[in-house]
Chain length 252, copies 2
Amino acid sequence: MIDRAVSLSDDAALREALAGADFVLFAAPVAQTQSLLERIAPFLEAGTIITDAGSTKSDVVAAARAALGERIGQFVPGHPIAGREARGPDAALLDLYVNRNVVLCPLSENRPEAVERVAAMWHTPGACVRGMASGQHDRVLASVSHLPHVLSFALVEQILNSPDAALKFSFAAGGFRDFTRIAASSPECGATSAWRIARRCLPNSTTNTAVLARLRAAIEAGDGAALEAVFARSRVARSEWQEHRSAGDASK
Amino acid sequence: MIDRAVSLSDDAALREALAGADFVLFAAPVAQTQSLLERIAPFLEAGTIITDAGSTKSDVVAAARAALGERIGQFVPGHPIAGREARGPDAALLDLYVNRNVVLCPLSENRPEAVERVAAMWHTPGACVRGMASGQHDRVLASVSHLPHVLSFALVEQILNSPDAALKFSFAAGGFRDFTRIAASSPECGATSAWRIARRCLPNSTTNTAVLARLRAAIEAGDGAALEAVFARSRVARSEWQEHRSAGDASK
């Protein structure tokens, strides 16, 4: 266990830090995956397993393949789905991962024992480990996480671009706050990796535009029944999801 | 002050309830405005002022004109922008309106004293009363309230329609909860008035689609700088809005 910062420019310190390591938990902005993995690769022993915490997986896998080459089998892609707005060691929570999902996207090159050891590591703080292909992971997360981010940003941008922006903001209330909180608390979207994340949403934003077009058509036709059906369906689904989730929290 | 329920089918009780009334605060689903106003109109004395609490104003004004005819000057359109998910007398909060906006949309037929008396009524529980034309009110609220509702519903609907809906819901986390809370807590969208409210969003959803199209283009072009600019702008605007709002809350 390394309990101190090691400078990436210090070969000797890197070598010492990685000597005999069972695990490397790689937690860095997704866009820096390849360059950082290339930097540590020379000091990586054959018995060390690397796993990561990036919120996209297809691009991380491509970056890891480019950086690690034939040693890609040592890299087990992962995504712990839990986080806080606050950062740094003081923001750490002992129970952050209890009952939270951690997705692992094993590669064909991974030995089963390597995947099992990463899963066991995440079970320790109480996480639920779920396996999935990288592409499926990215599609699922794009729907429930990245697309809401883009819609939230789009709403604020639209208000900013309108002639009476100040007036509109002065009338924004609790619903607006909830709707846009997701935009406020997304550190990843601030980095140069923004477009990588956003690109994941592309197929979903097309579908979303299609749904919006249907809603628009119902609105234009004054078809209250069709709208009401959509609204009711959403409300029931959202409420079932919430109940299911509360049950999960209660079982902590 | 009438402190009991009066049956709308009981002419004598209605007449008694409205006799000598200074104010009628009309709080009913927007879609029922015309029929309910028609029902009480025969018992309304010339000195009584009616105001309402509906979340749209152009359609309420049209309904009131149809119901009240030449007596439309007695009706001062209003929209108190505060509410709770909980309903009924037990959910009442003494400070619900403190520092909250109440919009009045005076008509050319209203006597200035009538508007002033309605404003004074709302000042009593601590509200900030602001004047605005009906059309402007509807455009502003469509941006900051109704459009977020529609986007939130569209997101849930899109997930429901996708082949792996259950998997996606099982990965929805806090951001999704915030983003969709607005859809869960919108009783008005459940009534037959859904399409009236949604129609207010029509111009805005066009603009929103345009903003989304620009974001899509930037994503497709891999233009991270353009995306980052939009995200940063949104985050700053949202944060300034939040600070401004917190300052307002603190001044209670």
